[in-house]
Each structure stands twice: as structure tokens, then as C-alpha cells.
């Protein structure tokens, strides 16, 4: 899951910023390219990717600064989503 997620996140950011020299630990908000509109695009993209909503407590910008941070967020939310039926049961 992590590799697929990471690849799709990379592709999304690279398509959004043509020519960007992207590494997994590059802070894309430090480049002056990304704005608040893009941060909400990232929220929607991750939600579409993992088919679950990003909860309000995960809205910190630090979760969206790098490919590594976004991958970790997506994996964390996916794991929480998988645990949910058992917890409910």
C-alpha cells in the first residue's frame, strides 16, 4: 500500500508542478509554489486515494509538507479505517 500511495502522491504533485525536482522529503510548501488552495487539493486527493475522509485533527500543514508525511498520513488513516469494523463490533 505504501509504495502505491507514495507513487500516486508523487505523480499528483509532479503533474501539478511541471518540472519540479521532487524528492520524498522535499517540503513543497517551502518552495513558494504551493498555496492554501493546493493544500485543500491535497486533502481531496488523499481522500480520493484512500476512500476515507481526513479527520479534522489531521489537518495540520505538517501532514502535507512532504511526500513522506502524506504517505504516512494516508497509511495511518487507512489502518484506522481497517480497524474500525472490529472496534465497532
Amino acid at each position: 500500500m505504501t509504495d502505491t500511495t507514495r507513487t500516486q502522491l508523487r505523480q499528483f504533485v509532479e503533474r501539478r508542478f511541471a518540472g519540479i525536482e521532487l524528492t520524498d522529503d522535499l517540503d513543497i510548501f517551502s518552495l513558494g509554489l504551493a498555496n492554501s488552495l493546493f493544500s485543500m487539493e491535497l486533502v481531496l486527493f488523499i481522500e480520493q486515494l484512500i476512500q476515507t475522509q481526513v479527520p479534522s485533527e489531521e489537518l495540520s500543514l505538517d501532514n502535507f509538507r512532504t511526500i513522506n508525511a502524506m504517505t504516512a498520513l494516508a497509511d495511518r488513516l487507512t489502518a484506522a479505517d481497517l480497524r474500525q469494523p472490529a472496534e465497532l463490533g
Binding site: 503533474r15 501539478r16 508542478f17 511541471a18 498555496n35 487539493e41 486527493f45 480520493q48 479534522s56
Partner: protein, 390 residues
């Protein structure tokens, strides 16, 4: 051709349009000019909106709302905008606040406010703009300082649509970790309001300047996390921008319908105006702009319904085109009617004043030009776009 002009293309995809249109024709259009003159929308109209379940249209039935998707939400806001931009503006901000509460609010906050907001018993106000902060949200000065287990909010907000009667105020304020968002009880003794009257347009939208002086909220009034305000603003303004874009389509449609009626009824030079080619040119521009703007809105709404991140850019495009086209259409509609279009109480004069406001709110034309151009340059870069799936 006649069907294209009288039955918008989106009708095919929105069976709800006929219901929304009938509501506006019965409850809104006949009284919009009078409410514009009086500067207020009286309770009976707001109650009719409640009875029709329209305050809750931004949320689907599964979340307690009355909505059937964002395309239909857009159609509703187009139809209301066709009748009265002031009422549409109040629907806009209420929808933004309701969306924020439902999507990002704490459980206790939702428990307290969701039901009365869905019914329209409590209306929402969106408190972002300040004397020193408008398009530059990062410059806002309102503060939210830790106080006991919650926060104390101090500052001045301006031009709050519906601010004269809003029961809850979605308020952007600076905290230790950056700009944050709070839902403030409008009855808090630390909240005071100064009505704003005599605006150029949307005169009945009950604007107010709102002062926060030691307004207290609990920690659960925080929307999202501290410092998430700019991202939340982008997401919420996207909803507002979409509504304004759709409302602008409604203005264009109203201008088109008024112009066609007038051009058929009034004769000059021995022939109805509609036979004069330069009048035909004006009507042509309105008809094509209405369709083009409607399709841009429908595209943005469809992307919202699928959860696509592309909706944010699509909404900027729709709002930019629709709001600028609305001002062109309103100017031309006044031109078609001549002096009658400039008279007190003339519908097209109201459309003209309201259309100018559409170019300013929820992202001015110039801010959208910056966003759209930057977005295009960033996507295309020097090498051109990368193909999908690359």
C-alpha cells in the same frame, strides 16, 4: 434554438431545477425589488426557505441535509440568484458555515448547532474580512487567546453577509500556531453588531460589521486544529465561490429573460427592438454567456460530487467567467431598456448593482486571475503538460 434559451441545458441533468424555479418564482422574484429597497429580507421569506428545506441543501440526506449533490446545489443557487442575489448571498454563507460544521466540527459542536442550522432556525455568518485583511487573509488581526479551558476572541470583522441576524459566526482568528477557525455563538455578550446599509449591491443581505470584545468559546469551538485556518479558508471559500458562480449564472439568465421581454414589447423606428440587429447582438452575448457559465458551473459541481481535487481550479474558472459575464450581461440589459433600465426599482438596475458585487466577493476578479494564471503556468511549466498516467 428556442429550447436552448428557455430551458437551460443543465435541466436535463437536474430534475430539481423545476422545483427550485417554481419556488423562486412564487416566493422570491415578486418581492426581490421591494426587499432590495428596504435593505432586508423579512422573516416570511426566510421561513419559506426553511419550509422548502433549502438551508440544508449543501448536505446530503445521509448527513441530515436536503441536498442531492453539488450539481443540484449549484442549480438551486442559480435559480435563487436569478430572483434575488441578496437571498442567494445568505444561502451562500450559511452553506459555507454548515459545511464547515459538518465536515470539520467537533462532535459537541455538531450536536449543538447542526440541527438548528439544517432547519434554518439558526443562520450562519462567515467572519473573515477585516479592516486590514481581505484578499490577504494572512494579514488578519483578530486574536484568539487561550483563556481557561477555551479561548477569548477579540477583533473587528467587516462586511459579514447576514451578520445582522446570524446566530453562529464562523470566525477566523490568530492563535499561537497561526490562523485558526472558531464557531462562535452569536449571542455571546462579547459579540456586537453594526448594521451596514446602503451598499451598492446585494442590499438586502443584512450585512453587518461584527466586533468581538472578550467573546469566550470553549476548546470544542475550534474547527480543525490550530493553524489550519488558511487551508480551511480555501476549502470553504471554494463552496462560496461555487455558489457565487452559480448565482452569477442566475443573474445572466435574469438579464436575458428581461431583455427578451423588453425587446419584444418595445418598438422603435417602426419595429420591435428585437428586430434591431444591435439589440440582437446584446441578446446573443447574454444567451451564449449564460450557457457557457452554466456549463462551467456544472463541470465544477460534477467534480465536487466525485470528490476530485480538480474541482478547486474548476470553481475558480467558473466564478471568474460567470461573475465577469454577469456584469457584462447586466450592463447590456440596462442598455437594452435605456432610461427605463436606470429607473428606481428597475430589475435590471438591481442586477447591474448586484453583478458588480459578484466580481468582488469570494475571490475578486483580480485574485482569481492570479490564481488561474499561476495554476496554468505551474501545470504546464516549460515542457508542457505531462500526459495522464505518466
Amino acid at each position: 434554438m428556442s429550447e436552448l434559451l428557455t430551458r437551460p441545458a443543465a435541466t436535463v441533468r437536474s430534475p430539481a431545477r423545476a422545483r427550485f424555479r417554481a419556488f423562486v418564482d412564487e416566493f422570491v422574484t415578486p418581492v426581490a425589488a421591494a426587499y432590495d429597497a428596504s435593505g432586508t429580507i423579512p422573516p416570511p421569506v426566510l421561513d419559506a426557505v426553511s419550509a422548502a428545506g433549502l438551508w440544508a441543501a449543501v448536505l446530503p440526506a445521509a448527513r441530515g441535509g436536503s441536498g442531492t449533490g453539488m450539481v443540484d446545489f449549484g442549480v438551486l443557487h442559480e435559480e435563487v440568484g436569478r430572483g434575488c442575489s441578496s437571498l442567494r448571498s445568505m444561502l451562500t454563507v450559511h452553506s459555507m458555515v454548515l459545511h464547515a460544521l459538518d465536515r470539520w466540527g467537533t462532535p459537541s459542536l455538531r450536536e449543538r448547532w447542526l440541527e438548528p442550522m439544517l432547519s434554518g432556525q439558526v443562520l450562519g455568518g462567515f467572519c473573515l474580512t477585516e479592516p486590514e485583511a481581505g484578499s490577504d487573509i494572512a494579514a488578519l488581526r483578530t486574536t484568539a487567546r487561550r483563556s481557561g479551558s477555551g479561548y477569548q476572541i477579540d477583533g473587528l470583522k467587516q462586511w459579514t453577509t447576514g451578520g445582522q441576524r446570524a446566530g453562529v459566526l464562523l470566525t477566523f482568528a490568530r492563535t499561537e500556531r497561526g490562523i485558526s477557525v472558531f464557531l462562535v455563538d452569536g449571542s455571546d455578550p462579547g459579540v456586537s453588531r453594526q448594521p451596514v446599509e446602503g451598499m451598492l449591491g446585494t442590499r438586502a443581505s443584512m450585512l453587518a460589521h461584527i466586533r468581538f470584545e472578550g467573546a469566550l468559546v470553549g476548546a470544542d469551538a475550534l474547527i480543525g486544529v490550530e493553524g489550519a485556518g488558511l487551508g480551511l479558508a480555501a476549502g470553504l471559500l471554494d463552496i462560496g465561490r461555487y455558489s457565487v458562480a452559480c448565482g452569477s449564472v442566475g443573474i445572466i439568465q435574469a438579464c436575458l429573460e428581461a431583455s427578451v421581454r423588453h425587446a419584444a414589447a418595445r418598438a422603435q423606428g417602426g419595429a420591435p427592438l428585437r428586430q434591431h440587429q444591435l439589440i440582437q447582438q446584446l441578446i446573443t452575448k447574454m444567451a451564449v454567456d449564460a450557457q457557457a457559465a452554466r456549463l462551467l458551473c456544472e463541470h465544477a459541481g460534477s467534480l465536487k460530487d466525485t470528490g476530485s481535487p480538480a474541482t478547486l481550479a474548476a470553481t475558480c474558472h467558473a466564478k471568474y467567467f460567470a461573475s465577469t459575464a454577469a456584469l457584462r450581461a447586466a450592463s447590456d440589459a440596462v442598455q437594452v431598456q435605456g432610461a427605463a433600465g436606470c429607473a428606481p426599482g428597475a430589475d435590471v438596475a438591481r442586477y447591474f448593482r448586484d453583478a458588480k458585487v459578484m466580481e468582488i466577493i469570494e475571490g475578486s476578479t483580480q485574485i482569481l486571475e492570479l490564481l488561474i494564471a499561476n495554476d496554468a503556468c505551474q501545470r504546464l511549466g516549460e515542457r508542457g503538460p505531462r500526459p495522464e498516467g505518466d
